[in-house]
């Protein structure tokens, strides 16, 4: 029998094992599934997969920022702290005016083709960006920030900024999701000469631990492979990347994406509607949201959703009108109907994240509670979160998934404005606006008042739903609303052009990730105010702030270190002014619904394991790459 076992059973077992290994599940691109992290691309399919030149707008969302490029300083998105990546340490300040800086880079970092990164690459990048700045379209973030630069030695260079700069590490490095200042490999780009402006650079020679293995010329997917020499890559010193391959792929429309997710075809999604996530979770227990309790999703985005108001245009130039609009947004109903209650309210014009809360929302808690309008009315409602809990409970949400105690505030925010159409009516009456015979408010001269609200069409389904819901809320309160959903192009044009703009649901111009509020508000200055009927595009200050005191606070703060207590205090003063005048109806933190599938990989960033922001399209995704673990399946 022993002999039989040795000569018959052993080879049979070997065959079976070989068969099993041959049956190892493979991805569509020919890599072992259990060694491949598969991520839904943030922007779907790209039309320019060959565009990989960091001087120009490139196919940015295919993993370049996360896996390919590397930056001088990265951002720890769990704490809001900048840390060195290619740089050897913090920036060295050379003069009291804070305009001259020395930057040392780490020796021993190599490009993916084996050439070492040196200061020459940075000098070449700055030279080229400056020389062709009118032809290159992804360099404006730093060419006007840096005035001059010089190489000191192979690993050191110096820069001089055009103005006092306390934010060098987050402008030449990463503030939130990546940096424009991406060093280009001199040895690849310099031979291109003047053609560098149209050079596609595909497949790109990169600095990160992954290099491009293959990509779809049609723009649906891009496959990255871990470099053999990943330890000497741009962030190879940060830890061990866990996946041998990372595949960025567009799984198509939300319907097919949700089904593919259920079939374990990929591991991390981007924005998916709450309905689709619920449906997918119900069919596959490996699919998880960011948090096990409401509001389920990550609410730590630097940006928030809000209604921008053309404050220069009558009748929106009156604070009473803006407050009346705020007090008639029934945010509880909006959030329940548009987002199934999965959102975090933010009353002031900033996102309310753990990082910004410490600097802004927390210290201004008393201000919000005591805020009083001219007639003595207190508009703030600190019980908003608890009301959400009660409403969800009434709708049948499982109690175990509802936050309690302090978690209510963490989940649903500090509070929001009262829903009070009667007070709104009073405010409007004080400026001569009353309801006409048709039941809608009319302008002081009796003419009809159509409140035009512009918001994204289905290219941003969350905002589309929120927009319709707000329009409904206003209509119920007596405003004759024209709810206009528009394409991305028109959305940008309306928001930029005074003559076209009344009210718009927006998301991107008040983004603040740490105490450096200048990042979002530096454009508040008189030069950025255009006449109310202007058809010229704005170059900033999309909130249409006209208050000279705010302009002064911004100008003063530009000369303060961002860690100076006065800097944060100035930011809070601006917040108070924006809030008192209801200069923007801020609504909520952007709910980033990023479901994950733990069939093949686990230990993604979650609410109770928050080692990084969970976005797969931010450069901080590097942290996720280092922390995920294979499940062994």
């Amino acid at each position: 029998m022993v002999r039989l076992g040795r000569y018959v059973l052993a080879p049979l077992a070997g065959l079976l094992l070989a068969g099993a290994s041959q049956a190892q599940e493979m991805t569509d691109v020919g890599t072992p599934r259990n060694e491949t992290l598969i991520v839904q691309t943030f922007d779907g399919k790209t039309a320019n997969p060959n565009a990989q030149n960091p001087f120009n707008l490139y196919a940015i969302w295919r993993g370049f920022r996360e896996l390919g490029w590397s930056f001088l300083w990265e951002m720890d998105t769990a704490t809001g702290q900048s840390y060195p990546e290619l740089a050897a340490g913090p920036v060295e300040v050379l003069n009291p005016e804070h305009t001259k800086f020395r930057i040392k880079i780490r020796p021993g970092v190599f490009w993916s083709d084996g050439v070492e990164l040196t200061a020459d690459d940075f000098i070449y990048t700055l030279d080229t960006a400056s020389k062709y700045k009118d032809k290159l379209n992804f360099v404006a973030g730093y060419v006007n920030y840096v005035k001059s630069w010089a190489k000191v030695d192979n690993y050191t260079f110096e820069v001089e900024t055009t103005k006092t700069a306390y934010d060098v590490q987050t402008v030449l490095g990463v503030y939130t999701w990546g940096s424009q200042f991406t060093p280009a490999p001199k040895h690849i780009f310099e031979p291109q000469g003047d053609n560098v402006v149209t050079f596609e650079n595909a497949p790109a020679v990169t600095l990160g631990p992954y290099k491009i293995k293959e990509y779809d010329p049609n723009g649906f997917w891009q496959l990255w492979e871990l470099r053999d020499d990943w330890q000497r890559s741009g962030w190879g010193n940060a830890g061990t990347p866990k996946a041998k391959y990372v595949l960025y792929k567009d799984f198509g429309a939300e319907e097919t994406r949700a089904l593919s997710f259920v079939q374990n075809k990929y591991d991390i999604d981007t924005f998916m509607s709450p309905d689709s996530i619920a449906a997918a979770k119900a069919r596959n227990p490996a699919i998880e949201t960011f948090s096990k309790t409401f509001p389920y999703h990550d609410m730590n985005d630097a940006c928030s959703y809000g209604i921008y108001i053309n404050q220069q245009k009558a009748p929106y130039d009156k604070a009473e009108v803006r407050w009346a609009l705020a007090l008639t947004v029934d945010l509880k109903t909006v959030g329940l109907s548009a987002l199934s209650g999965q959102f975090k309210a933010a009353a002031m014009p900033l996102s309310d994240t753990p990082i910004t809360n410490a600097a802004f929302y927390g210290p201004l808690d008393g201000f919000l509670n005591e805020l009083t309008l001219a007639d003595g009315y207190k508009p703030f409602d600190p019980t908003f979160g608890q009301q959400m809990v009660e409403a969800l409970k009434a709708q049948g949400a499982p109690e175990s998934e509802l936050p309690t105690g302090d978690a209510v505030k963490e989940g649903f925010g500090t509070g929001w404005w009262k829903y009070d159409p009667a007070q709104a009516e009073k405010l409007l009456a004080s400026v001569g606006i009353k309801k006409g015979a048709d039941g809608f408010y009319a302008l002081p001269d009796g003419s009809p008042w159509v409140v035009e609200l512009v918001f994204p069409s289905d290219w941003n389904k969350v905002m589309q739903r929120v927009g319709f819901s707000i329009a409904d809320s206003w209509k119920k309160a007596g405003f004759n609303v024209n709810a206009r959903q528009v394409d991305a192009g028109e959305h940008g044009t309306v928001g930029n052009t005074n003559s076209k703009f009344n009210l718009e649901l927006q998301w991107n111009n008040t983004c603040v990730y740490n105490v450096n509020w200048l990042n979002g508000w530096r454009s508040f200055n008189a030069d950025n105010v255009k006449p109310v009927d202007s058809s010229d595009a704005l170059s900033g200050n999309y909130l249409r702030v006209t208050d000279p005191e705010i302009f002064q606070l911004v100008a003063d703060s530009a000369n303060l270190p961002t860690e100076d207590p006065q800097f944060a205090e100035n930011g809070r003063s601006i917040m108070k002014k924006l809030t008192e005048g209801m200069q923007e109806i801020n609504l909520m933190n952007i709910p980033t619904t990023i479901p994950t599938n733990s069939t093949y990989w686990r230990n993604y960033p979650k609410q109770d394991n928050f080692y990084a922001a969970p976005y797969s399209w931010w450069s901080s995704f590097k942290k996720t790459i280092l922390n995920i673990e294979p499940t062994g399946k």
């Binding site: 404006a140 973030g141 930029n496 983004c511 990042n519 595009a537």
Partner: protein, 333 residues
């Protein structure tokens, strides 16, 4: 009217259609409420964390206008545009996907669109006409009614519902096809070609099903009417067989409008099938046009619409030129 005169008239008409079409193509995007440069700058501003200074934005605006041929008054832009199209077939660079040229983008997507849509359109046309012919010729028979019911059932189903149902059935419940295909890259091999065909079968099936129903109903109606014509009755009295009458008398005469419909639908395949391409993650012109429309990318819109206009007008010209060969009545006239 002599043949030459007939051909010259048709070609003149063709050129006039092209001229008007291309002029409209130039003007239409300019009436769009979106300003592509502003949308683009807004996108960049967002990606630069809002850190672009007003000076940087002003500089960028000026250089983008120069770059994309949006400098100068409308007339100057128009003449430049026509000159570029006519002499070089050059639609410039994509605004949203600089520095990619519009021609490269469209030519890259066109083979996919044409491969899928030409095949499925022709298959749907052939199948639908065959079934419709039989249903129409034997319209008094119960079996013919059943064939007609297929058309009646398929035709009114909205394409989106049909496509999602097919996806659910054949890619999710019975995962025979991928929900989201991955098309192979690199040098084409027989194996890779097979994968392309395999990945294209599901979208092709939905297109065939969607086009099939209309062709059945349309051909059936034409066949019924033609069957009543005196020359068919005469053929029957002469003793011609059912097959001869159906194919040589009914089909040949009923197919003329169907050929027109086929030619026109072949012309429109250059637009791509947007819903199909979206739902099945299929690379094609439709997706490119959608992105261009959403972002106000003038140049890509010019390119895609212009190619479509040229294709439809050319299809019309070809029909006009071959019609006399198909229909003796026109030849005689």
């Amino acid at each position: 009217m002599g043949v030459l005169q007939y051909v010259a008239k048709r070609i003149g008409l063709y050129l006039a259609v092209l001229f008007i079409g291309l002029s409209i193509t130039f003007l239409l995007p300019r009436f769009m409420p979106a300003n592509p440069i502003e949308a683009y700058i807004s996108q960049l501003q967002s990606r630069a964390n809002g850190s672009l200074t007003p000076e940087a934005i002003a500089e960028m605006r000026a250089s983008l206008e120069q770059l994309y041929g949006l400098k100068g008054d409308l007339l100057t832009q128009y003449f430049n545009y026509m000159k570029r199209i006519v002499t070089q077939f050059d639609f410039g660079l994509s605004i949203a996907f600089y520095p990619q040229s519009v021609t490269t983008m469209i030519l890259g997507a066109l083979p996919w669109t044409l491969g899928l849509l030409l095949t499925s359109t022709v298959v749907a046309w052939l199948l639908g006409n065959m079934v419709g012919l039989v249903a129409g010729y034997f319209h008094t028979k119960k079996a013919a009614t059943i064939l007609e019911v297929v058309g009646i059932l398929l035709y009114p189903i909205p394409y989106y519902i049909l496509a999602v149902s097919v996806l659910l059935l054949l890619a999710y419940i019975f995962p025979i096809f991928p929900l989201s295909p991955t098309f192979p890259v690199g040098q084409m091999t027989p194996q890779k070609f097979g994968m392309v065909i395999y990945n294209s079968l599901l979208p092709a099936l939905t297109l065939v099903l969607a086009g099939f129903g209309w062709n059945i109903l349309s051909m059936k109606a034409l066949a019924v009417a033609t069957t009543e014509e005196p020359y068919v009755t005469y053929a029957r009295l002469k003793g011609a067989s059912n097959w001869t009458r159906m194919v040589r008398y009914v089909f040949r005469n009923a197919m003329l409008p169907q050929v027109t419909a086929l030619a026109l639908s072949l012309g429109t395949v250059f637009n791509g099938a947007l819903l199909t391409e979206m739902l099945f993650s299929y690379p094609g012109v439709g997706l490119i046009m959608r992105t261009a429309a959403g972002g106000g990318d003038y140049n890509v819109l010019y390119g895609a619409i212009a190619i479509s206009i040229i294709a439809v007008a050319t299809a019309g010209l070809i029909i006009d030129l071959i019609y006399p060969l198909l229909d003796p009545r026109i030849r005689h006239k």
